[in-house]
């Protein structure tokens, strides 16, 4: 059983029951140096394991880049 999330604007298939750390692992993203939003709301790192993801959830995975 799997469902589709929208990660950084692109569809991503994950097994049902996937949580945020699992999603990052699936996508090959290191947990350090990223922050996460689900459906426009920041999810603090301490709550990543609590948050179960549902079909259609919009996830933003952001990091820091050069800028002025």
């Amino acid at each position: 059983m799997s469902h589709t999330l929208l990660v950084n604007g692109k569809p991503q298939e994950v097994p049902a029951g996937t949580k945020l750390p699992g999603l990052l692992e699936t996508m090959g993203v290191a947990e350090t140096q990223v922050a996460l939003e689900v459906n426009g709301e920041l999810v603090p790192r301490a709550k990543w394991t609590e948050r179960e993801l549902s079909a259609g959830d919009r996830i933003e995975v952001v990091t820091l880049v050069g800028g002025g």
């Binding site: 990660v7 950084n8 604007g9 692109k10 996508m27 090959g28 993203v29 140096q33 990223v34 922050a35 939003e37 426009g40 920041l42 603090p44 790192r45 933003e60 995975v61 952001v62 990091t63 820091l64 880049v65 050069g66 800028g67 002025g68």
Partner: protein, 266 residues
């Protein structure tokens, strides 16, 4: 001995000896950026928040190259055109860096990249209420600068001229008036192109300047970074020293008595 040392620049929880703040964008490589930071003497570097590129993961990230014991990191909300996006970005930045500092940018349109003044004030109030130390990028209107100070900003950052334009301080009088209206740190941000622009901003009474394109876009970025360090110190010292009054006509600096051709008095 020399004159007494300058006091440090304090912004919210920050304390800086160097009054030159540096951006980290548009460098050819991380190595070039670090060389420029070293040459500039800066202690603070700005960064932007962006989506992780999930198709093309880069080898190293920006933070791998910045020694956080040496450099304070100031995240920005560059690229945000709405209050809502700026708030989201600020919260993500705080989560990423565990810092209350944010350089708030609410941009009006992509062609001018000039700040949206009303959106900037609105976002400042909300972020201040959430405990952020807001450094508000704004236009050089002195009343807007005063309004942002009243809204609780930790620093105001009026633009010299549009971002990346290299046109210097377009309206020196406005920077001077703004300086006279607010006590909180005033950083001239954006538009500075070369060392004389930096010195001018500091002479007008800015507490600091923030540079990016002027260094990254120079033919020799590292040398320009060093030029900016000296310009910032020179402008600051000139401001603290208090310049001489300017006059229309000459006033001789050598004595007027005792000239060779002088008629002898009998």
């Amino acid at each position: 001995m020399g004159p007494p040392l300058d006091k440090p620049l304090k912004i919210g929880s920050l304390q800086l000896t160097s009054r030159l703040l540096m951006g980290s964008g548009r460098y050819a490589s991380h190595q070039e950026m670090i060389a420029c930071l070293d040459a500039s003497g800066s202690e603070l570097i700005t960064v932007a928040v962006r989506r992780v590129n999930l198709d093309q993961r880069a080898g190293t990230s920006l933070l791998d190259h910045i020694d956080r014991k040496r450099f304070q990191i100031l995240p920005n909300t560059a690229g945000c055109y709405t209050v809502a996006d700026a708030l989201r970005t600020a919260r993500l930045a705080r989560e990423l860096l565990d810092t209350p500092l944010i350089k708030l940018e609410v941009i009006g349109d992509p062609r001018t990249l000039l700040p949206d003044p009303l959106g900037t004030v609105e976002a400042t109030k909300i972020l201040v209420a959430e405990g952020f130390h807001v450094m508000a990028y704004c236009s050089d209107d002195p009343r807007l600068v005063a309004t942002l100070a009243d809204a609780g900003a930790a620093a105001v950052m009026p633009a010299g001229s549009p971002i990346g334009s290299g046109r210097g301080v377009s309206n020196p009088g406005n920077i001077e008036i703004a300086r006279s209206l607010v006590d909180l740190p005033l950083i001239v941000d954006a538009g500075l192109g070369t060392a004389s622009d930096v010195a001018q901003a500091m002479e007008l009474g800015a507490d600091g300047v923030l540079l990016n394109s002027a260094v990254a876009g120079a033919e020799d970025p590292e040398r320009m970074a060093r030029a900016m360090k000296f310009a910032c110190c020179a402008g600051r010292d000139a401001y603290l020293a208090g310049r001489m009054p300017s006059r229309l006509h000459a006033q001789a600096s050598s004595p007027e008595a005792g000239l060779l051709g002088e008629a002898l008095s009998s």
